[in-house]
């Protein structure tokens, strides 16, 4: 169905960035403007979600040209669900930035937040492979700037590492796209399905596809392309960490799934054979590395890589249950990790320490913060009735249904390691004698940490609808007929 909705969040992001740059010099006006724009983006994406939940595929064709000439923006269930997750997490990140005395005064930083969102929504809603590349670059560039904006040594180093690796990978993506185009004669995702059936050389095509998927997997922190993530996610200012760990990695995961399952099923099957072991390795390896971290934010960063392993393992299965679990897990992990980073930022201000073993006595110093920390940590560990349990359960049962026992074993091992690590951190943070108070976090930050924790609880209670939505999105993606018909026409 033709509609302007798929492109609306993107336009609001670009427009928001421009408006903030032009009008945002005055601090009070900046806060008001940023708040209103962020709410507008959230409302637009939720509208997209509401319109697509019944299976409608919304299409916006640039200039009214039909593909293959025109470039389409498409919203189906999958992209709307990922878009809604991104919008919610970005709202949390922007709220945290507004509560931060330094970030909220600098309109250029707030403008970068909007550019980052424009890039992410573009990547999620685009229906064209080359446009995907452009938007991946766009949100990449914004995120390097956001990581480095304080200009301290570790941040500049983290940004340099992150930028170099992503840019090298995106050179590969450009070459991959060119060779995909040379073999299929199209860049429209919807047309790849038909083209992938009649290929001259399937192995060559798989190699080109590997080039296309490499920067997306790098953004999703898939082993062995994960090593930039711990630095960038832990050294970035907390507001940026929330968005990076909650939303940006999800866009990478979404890109992999979207590109893979736009093709004929044989492509997903072949690539899945490589993707599944890599994802399982990511989950276990990053869980072990997370266990060894003393720095709380660094622990969270490694844990993000580990959790993305679950998402991609579910996606690599290529079954409706597997892809559904990937969607559910992305949403759940996004909320959990946003909450944890908000807690970590507030706890760091409270104790003046980055290490969790020196944050002792949180329960005595700030009971509300400790309660939020407990909820988020338990969800990360996957304790029922919280959201994390639902996500892990979905991935495990999808793996078991497919008979992927080795990967299932690896993921269960990762979950146990994670459980122990989380328990240790909770005891270190909450228990023990209260340390010296270094400062007190501002009230908005505490409210934000509590709000995201409540969101985690609500997601846990609303598991049923989330499961259904994830499953419906997976079925629509695998079937693909509605998507192709909407984009290419009958």
């Amino acid at each position: 169905m033709p509609s302007i909705l798929p492109i609306l969040p993107l336009l609001l992001g670009f427009g928001g960035a421009t408006l903030v740059l032009v009008l945002g010099r005055h601090p009070v006006r900046l806060r008001l403007l940023v708040g209103l724009l962020q709410l507008a983006i959230l409302a637009a994406v939720l509208l997209v979600l509401l319109r697509t939940l019944d299976g409608t595929v919304l299409v916006q064709r640039a200039g009214g040209w039909r593909p293959p000439l025109g470039i389409a923006f498409v919203a189906d269930r999958l992209s709307a669900l990922f878009g809604a997750t991104i919008a919610a997490i970005a709202t949390a990140g922007v709220a945290y930035a507004l509560a931060d005395a330094e970030a909220a005064r600098r309109h250029r930083i707030m403008a970068l937040f909007f550019m980052l969102q424009a890039g992410m929504f573009g990547a999620v809603f685009t229906g064209d492979l080359f446009n995907l590349y452009v938007f991946v670059e766009l949100f990449g560039v914004s995120s390097y700037g956001l990581v480095a904006y304080r200009g301290e040594a570790p941040q500049v180093e983290a940004a340099l590492k992150y930028a170099t690796l992503s840019l090298l990978a995106s050179v590969l993506m450009l070459m991959g796209i060119a060779s995909v185009y040379a073999q299929t004669g199209t860049l429209t995702l919807a047309a790849l399905h038909e083209a992938s059936v009649r290929l001259a050389s399937p192995p060559l095509y798989l190699f080109s596809l590997a080039l296309v998927l490499s920067p997306l997997s790098l953004k999703a922190a898939l082993f062995p392309l994960h090593f930039w993530l711990p630095d960038a996610h832990s050294m970035a200012p907390t507001a940026v960490s929330i968005v990076l760990s909650g939303a940006v990695v999800k866009v990478g995961g979404y890109g992999v799934l979207r590109v893979l399952f736009s093709h004929d099923p044989w492509v997903g099957e072949q690539v899945g054979r490589v993707l599944l072991p890599l994802a399982a390795t990511t989950a276990v390896g990053a869980a072990c590395m997370a266990y060894a971290q003393g720095d709380l934010k660094r622990f969270l960063a490694y844990s993000t890589a580990s959790q993305m392993g679950y998402v991609l393992a579910g996606g690599a299965l290529g079954t409706a249950a597997g892809l559904g679990s990937a969607v559910v897990y992305s949403t759940v992990h996004a909320a959990t990790k946003a909450s944890l980073f908000a807690v970590a930022g507030a706890a760091e201000e409270l104790s003046g320490e980055r290490r969790w073993d020196r944050m002792g006595g949180l329960a005595a110093l700030s009971p509300p913060l400790a309660a939020s920390a407990l909820v988020a940590l338990l969800s990360l560990a996957g304790i029922p009735p919280l959201a994390g349990f639902a996500g892990k359960f979905a991935v495990f049962s999808a793996l078991a249904a497919r008979g992927a026992w080795l990967s299932l074993f690896a993921l269960v091992a990762a979950a146990l390691i994670n459980l122990v690590a989380v328990g240790r951190i909770w005891l270190g943070m909450a228990g023990g004698p209260p340390g010296d108070l270094a400062g007190s976090p501002s009230r908005p930050k505490l409210v934000l940490a509590a709000t995201t924790a409540i969101l985690v609880v609500l997601l846990g209670l609303g598991t049923g609808p989330l499961f259904e939505a994830g499953r419906a999105a997976a079925v629509q993606l695998l079937d693909g007929r509605a998507y192709r018909q909407a984009v290419l026409g009958p």
Partner: protein
């Protein structure tokens, strides 16, 4: 012509990778822009898939495909912006940390 482009592509990739692996961050940026150029050449080569004549309406089916050349234009613009950002990051590290040597930058962190 294809042989010339292929050779140039190979040389650019080789020199680019060599420079990217250096410790000096400025050479890293240089190597990166060489790799970008190589990628653009690769896209151009892929447009010769249907023929090597200029993509012009009147030439018909024997002409090359115009789409990859449009992609190159976009890629050049993106590459320019991205290289500028990398230079800015290297400049920031040079000013604030006093070095552009990648090993020394990592050592400063510890």
């Amino acid at each position: 012509m294809t042989w010339l482009l292929c050779t140039t592509f190979a040389v650019l990739i080789a020199v680019g990778i060599f420079h990217v692996l250096q410790r000096d961050a400025i050479r890293l940026v240089l190597g990166f822009s060489l790799l970008l150029g190589a990628a653009n050449l690769f896209v151009l080569l892929s447009s010769a898939y249907f023929g090597t004549r200029a993509p012009y309406v009147r030439f018909g089916a024997a002409g090359g495909d115009p789409v990859p050349q449009v992609l190159i234009l976009t890629a050049i613009a993106i590459g320019f912006g991205v290289t500028a950002l990398l230079v800015a990051l290297v400049l920031a590290s040079g000013r604030r940390l006093g070095t552009v040597d990648l090993d020394e930058i990592s050592r400063l962190e510890r």
